[in-house]
């Protein structure tokens, strides 16, 4: 079962103790980081449960804690994965999604199965020597809701299957 109480408590401690970068001794700052990380773990379970309940589908959701520094094992190593985007705003939004990937070509499909335009763009050299590519696609998310996009890396087999599907659709 998920639980948001540990994160609540960690946040309360941090706010009470003025836990701003640099205004505590390093070992204290490290402890704040430990409390936050420990608090976020059960929240991930809570979010997974909520998404499973809302979508009526149980999945092994993966939370990429280092997406901000472009590290995500799922998007970088998987041939196929799903992206769930939750919008906490009370109005629909369009958001450009960026995910670190290894070089290649990808098919992205929206919740209705339609292909979405996507690009793989180079990251600046100065950012990282190891991870150099980002997958980019526009996502539309409803107010206080979520959208699920599916991403497939083009391999020789998927490319051929895609071409065959496209040709058979055309002939029909």
């Amino acid at each position: 079962s998920g639980d948001s109480a540990p994160l609540n408590e960690a946040m309360a401690v941090l706010q009470h103790h003025d836990a701003v970068s640099g205004t505590a001794r390093q070992n204290v700052a490290n402890d704040y980081a430990r409390q936050l990380a420990a608090g976020w773990g059960p929240c991930e379970v809570l979010v997974s449960n909520a998404l499973a309940m809302l979508s009526h589908e149980k999945q092994n959701f993966s939370f990429c804690r280092e997406l901000n520094i472009s590290i995500c094992p799922v998007s970088q190593k998987s041939e196929h994965f799903q992206v769930t985007i939750y919008n906490p705003l009370g109005r629909k939004v369009q958001q450009m999604i960026r995910l670190p990937v290894n070089d290649g070509i990808f098919f992205v499909k929206d919740p209705n199965g339609k292909t979405v335009p996507s690009n793989v763009v180079m990251r600046p050299n100065s950012y990282s020597k190891r991870y150099q590519w980002d997958l980019l696609f526009p996502a539309f998310v409803p107010a206080l809701g979520f959208s699920m996009y599916s991403v497939a890396k083009v391999t020789a087999a998927t490319s051929q299957a895609y071409r065959l599907r496209a040709r058979s659709k055309k002939s029909r």
């Binding site: 998404l51 999945q59 901000n68 763009v121 050299n125 696609f137 599916s150």
Partner: protein, 281 residues
């Protein structure tokens, strides 16, 4: 030798092809054009002087000079243009770089900066800022917010409720910026929306600056007993400034919606697929 620019249907950002620095922003929807020079600078942190032994530290911002040093007067640039994004990658130094980015349909310019680890082998603590210089006649005034709720007018070297004897011409004019800072001449407004709380100011008319990172060598004597010297993952910071150029009458509607979207940004969760039906009962 050619003009370097990125544009979408609303915004065009032009760069000096000689220096690689941002030169001009145009709002094509409102036919507004503003020369904007943006770059990174650093203040040399005070270690104490004849007036006071106070050193710059975690709690205290006290540069020892009025004028900051440029990180670099030019940037090595790389242009990326695809159907979904246009970017100018600027590399200022081994520890300072930036991506200026435009997506289709976007009414703001996105500046994603990466700063650190700040070198201090020269024995100087450094407080790094991003500064926007424009010809706007702002008459010593600028605006900063308090959690996006109340935007307060700030006037250089002035406090509204007492007569100020300004003893710190830089730090004494710095204010908290929780989500946005802006300057205007009454007609045109330049707004910068931040992705985190920072310190900011306008130390010259038409100029706007935000502190993005700092690394110091001395403790400021306020109880921490350690200099602000991050050695771990926090030694490099990656952040974003969202820049809006618009008419004053239109600005509030734009920066409020933009800041709201920035703070309550969509959350991304990934899965490998292969789901099974789930019923909460």
């Amino acid at each position: 030798s050619h003009v370097l620019f990125i544009e979408n249907e609303y915004i065009r950002a032009t760069f000096d092809s000689g220096t690689g620095l941002l030169m001009k922003i145009e709002n094509m929807e409102q036919s507004l054009s503003l020369p904007v020079s943006q770059g990174f600078f650093w203040y040399n942190a005070s270690t104490g002087d004849g007036k006071s032994s106070q050193a710059s530290g975690a709690y205290i911002f006290r540069p020892n000079h009025l004028k900051p040093m440029p990180v670099s007067r030019w940037a090595q640039v790389h242009l990326v243009k695809t159907a979904l994004v246009q970017e100018v990658h600027q590399n200022f130094s081994a520890w300072c770089s930036q991506v200026v980015r435009l997506y289709p349909g976007q009414r703001h310019l996105e500046l994603e900066w990466m700063v650190g680890p700040i070198p201090v082998k020269d024995g100087w603590g450094k407080e790094v800022i991003s500064r926007f210089d424009t010809p706007l006649k702002t008459q010593g005034e600028f605006y900063t917010d308090s959690n996006g709720r109340e935007i307060l007018k700030r006037r250089r070297n002035h406090r509204p409720t007492w007569r100020l004897n300004q003893t710190e011409p830089v730090a004494g004019n710095y204010y908290p910026v929780n989500t946005r800072i802006y300057i205007s001449d009454g007609h045109t407004q330049l707004t910068v929306v931040t992705d985190r709380s920072q310190g900011g100011s306008s130390l010259q008319d038409g100029s706007l600056e935000l502190m993005v990172h700092r690394r110091l060598l001395l403790d400021d004597g306020r109880g921490v007993q350690e200099p602000l010297m991050e050695l771990g993952t926090g030694s490099t910071v990656l952040g974003r400034h969202l820049v809006l150029l618009s008419s004053v009458s239109d600005a509030a509607a734009r920066h409020r919606l933009l800041a709201e979207k920035e703070i309550l940004a969509p959350q991304v969760v990934l899965s490998q697929g292969g789901s099974s039906p789930y019923y909460y009962w």
